[in-house]
């Protein structure tokens, strides 16, 4: 899996490309954890290039949200594809994670 990172607002946007599953989650979790720290806990996770997220991927998202929360930071997710949104909805993540439709609507 490739992960692209760039400055965004007062923080960082991280864009994983491909699939966030049990085979790619460990590397993604580490990359996002490090980006979160570097960003001062202000991070946007752009999921526009993710075709697939399983519970292993949900754990990565939840770990990022918890890391940001613990540091009173800001964590947003944007641009969920329909099949990824369905996984978020079934898991109750749409209720507890801050999600915006597009990167343009995200403010850090």
């Amino acid at each position: 899996m490739q992960i692209v990172e760039e400055p965004f607002g007062s923080g960082i946007v991280v864009r994983p490309i491909g699939r966030l599953d049990s085979t790619t989650a460990p590397a993604a979790e580490q990359a996002i954890r490090e980006a979160m720290t570097r960003s001062g806990h202000r991070l946007l996770l752009d999921m526009g290039d993710l075709d697939y997220v399983s519970s292993a991927g949900l754990r990565v998202v939840l770990a990022a949200a918890k890391q940001s929360n613990a540091a009173s930071g800001r964590f947003l997710v944007c641009d969920l594809k329909p099949q990824v949104r369905q996984v978020f909805e079934l898991s109750g993540f749409t209720r507890i994670i801050s999600i915006v439709a597009t990167r343009a609507e995200a403010e850090l």
């Binding site: 049990s22 399983s54 519970s55 939840l62 099949q83 996984v87 507890i96 994670i97």
Partner: protein
């Protein structure tokens, strides 16, 4: 039949993390003739990952020689419903008895873990478990045209 035989209705794999991608490759080949469409393909792939990952992580504590088997078939007698079945010979585990966790109201309350089985429940029409001798047998049924 030899493990991993191409085109077979069933594959047997070591209960090891790298079996997940081998399972996906096998499923991709098996799904072709079933023509499930993108939504059903996604549901099957996801549920296969969730159940197989649970088996790999938890079925054989302290053992490296465990295996599991997966079968996939469409049932013409049930409007082409797709049946994904798992068998392992590890510790007894009934996912259908796994009570759904209460939905967390906040990120702080949400637990990291236990997310897979509720997700599977959301995608399948039916989920059946039996302990057969030393085997755990789990069958997931996906309705055709539903996700």
């Amino acid at each position: 039949m030899p493990a991993g035989e191409a085109g077979a209705n069933r594959i047997e794999l070591p209960a090891q993390p790298d079996s997940i991608s081998r399972l996906w490759d096998w499923l991709a080949g098996r799904l072709g003739p079933i023509e499930p469409g993108p939504e059903l393909s996604h549901a099957i792939r996801l549920c296969a990952e969730e159940i197989a990952t649970n088996i790999v992580m938890h079925a054989y504590p302290g053992r490296a020689d465990g295996t599991f088997a997966v079968g996939l078939e469409a049932d013409p007698a049930a409007d082409g419903a797709v049946r994904l079945s798992f068998e392992d010979w590890g510790i007894p585990f009934d996912p259908t008895a796994h009570a759904p966790a209460a939905a967390a109201g906040t990120v702080a309350e949400a637990e990291i873990g236990g997310l897979g089985i509720p997700l599977v429940r959301g995608f399948v029409q039916q989920m059946a478990y039996e302990r057969h001798g030393a085997a755990n047998r789990l069958t997931l049924v996906f309705a055709r045209g539903a996700s």
